[in-house]
Subunit: 324 residues, 2 copies
């Protein structure tokens, strides 16, 4: 995030950073991701206008408790965690009323984690979920929207329940499904032969099985109900396809997989266009931190993006072939 902000058009930014692991903050400074390595979390936030908590979920509650007192008045606090309902509860419980909490979740993971996997372009064209707490001020919300836009992500407003349900379907379930897909092949007695036969399809379909298990653990613990719900849906859907295959009605099988292919291709094509347009270069150069904090710049930019997305969707609807 630091690398991305430093590369953005933000003029007068100063970033202080702290990591519980020795040497990480110094390394971040050497990489140009932060300007100043702080000796502890409290020192890092002492004069901050915006605080980004980007720890594993399992550490977040403790970090909030630790920095609460040190946060300046009117400061805006955000996070980058994969689940939101629990995080918002902790913020409500632990952060003082004089600050605004606006949850954030950039949808831009990769299997690797840690400072060595940092990448300035990670957020480009990706969705950035904005999940404000009930008490967050509107300008605070706009500031985090602005932050997302500065790293070329696409802000998406959601409440915590919506976020956790959607993320369970398109992000947490895939983690579990890919792990299952890999694990059942790996545990088979024929794995030595199977693994020789496995190819790019297997590699890609199981990529998420290489996710940091701490992250998976954090996610399934703080979003348990939703994850279980979507795993059950996956079981049902697999049984539907299995029954179809077992029954052997060639036309039904073809139609079912053809519909899925058509819809995925449509999703990939329109998704790529949407991202391209939304992540187009920003007209303004040299946004300042105060522009960001007032939130007006983000609000204006959001209106522009929404207009262009609506236009795109209208065009896509016109192009799409009619289907029964």
């Amino acid at each position: 995030m630091g690398l991305a902000l430093k590369r953005s058009r933000l003029k007068d930014i100063e970033i202080a950073g702290y990591d519980v692991e020795r040497g990480v903050a110094n390394k971040a400074q050497r990489m140009g991701a932060i300007d100043r390595a702080a000796s502890d979390a409290r020192t890092a936030v002492r004069e901050a206008a915006i605080v980004i908590i980007a720890t594993p979920i399992s550490a977040m509650r403790e970090v909030m408790g630790e920095i609460a007192e040190a946060l300046p008045d009117n400061c805006i606090v955000t996070d980058t965690a994969s689940t939101k309902a629990e995080v918002l509860r902790w913020a409500e419980e632990l952060l003082p009323r004089r600050v605004s909490f606006v949850g954030g979740h950039p949808m831009a993971g990769k299997e690797q984690s840690g400072i060595d996997a940092a990448e300035a372009g990670l957020f480009e064209g990706r969705a950035y979920c904005i999940v404000p707490s009930v008490s967050a001020k509107e300008t605070a919300v706009n500031s985090i929207v602005g932050l997302a836009q500065l790293v070329n992500a696409i802000p998406v407003y959601l409440d915590a329940q919506e976020h956790d349900s959607y993320a369970a379907a398109v992000s947490h379930l895939p983690l579990v499904a890919c792990a299952a897909l890999f694990s059942l092949a790996r545990e088979s007695p024929a794995w030595p032969e199977m693994s020789q036969v496995a190819s790019t399809g297997f590699r890609d379909a199981t990529r998420l099985a290489s996710t940091n298990p701490e992250l998976t653990d954090d996610i399934v613990r703080t979003n348990r109900e939703q994850v279980v719900h979507w795993v059950n849906r996956m079981v049902q859907e697999l049984m539907r396809l299995r029954d179809l295959i077992e029954k052997g009605d060639e036309e039904e099988i073809f139609k079912t997989f053809a519909k899925i292919q058509f819809e995925r291709d449509t999703y990939i094509t329109t998704g790529a266009k949407r991202r391209e347009e939304a992540a187009a270069p920003m007209p303004e150069a040299g946004v300042t931190v105060s522009d960001l904090l007032v939130g007006e710049w983000a609000a204006r930019r959001t209106r522009e993006i929404m207009k262009s997305l609506e236009e795109q969707e209208r065009r896509a609807r016109e192009r799409r072939p009619r289907r029964k």
Copy 2:
């Protein structure tokens, strides 16, 4: 395959090609994938030493019937289909005794199909399953092994049942699982919001849902039992992980996903090394078609590869940390 063979060190090769779709063979000739576009399948095979049937499985039986009479004596016939038991039955039934059938399955798919998706490097470092018919001569088997090696693939010997079972686990099940993963999200009423939140993880995990539905249909029809078996295994594995998540034992969850991550990372690392070594540049330049047909060159090269793989595995075993 034509592009790959033309780029290989095969000196005196001439490739004739035929496609049922008008213009495809001519296009292949313009692309340099074949030397001569034949007007029909019978003409294409008339003087062939090796015949490669690379049609959808649903067309294969008909093609075999069509070319049977025209095949020269001692010709070697192979295919590239995704399932093998049915194909070998058809070969047994339809091809004359004076030719050898050796089934082939290069494990190098991509979602796109057709001549425009052709790629000379497609087979590099990929497994190439060799599934000989019971009546195939040893030199014929070695010739197809040689073919695989010329396109820099790694030959893997299997019988038809083994092939169909392993391929069901690491190739056909992923097709069905990815289709299920995409379809259940797509059919959700919240899809418009969900799709905005979906990211690279969802895209990669559902890539195989964009597979040509004709191919999926062919596979599940000709390998029904095995596919159903492995879909059932996937359902069981998902329910195992679901129960674990529902029970919420943090340590058990972490251990389970950590084991999966460790094993996938090991598989990816050793797999990449294995491919790199096996696909190393061939010592001999200018192999001739008669070298290939006699099969000795392939046999020698295979011995070299096996030796290097055994060496590699021994080293990997020594490096691997001990686990309970």
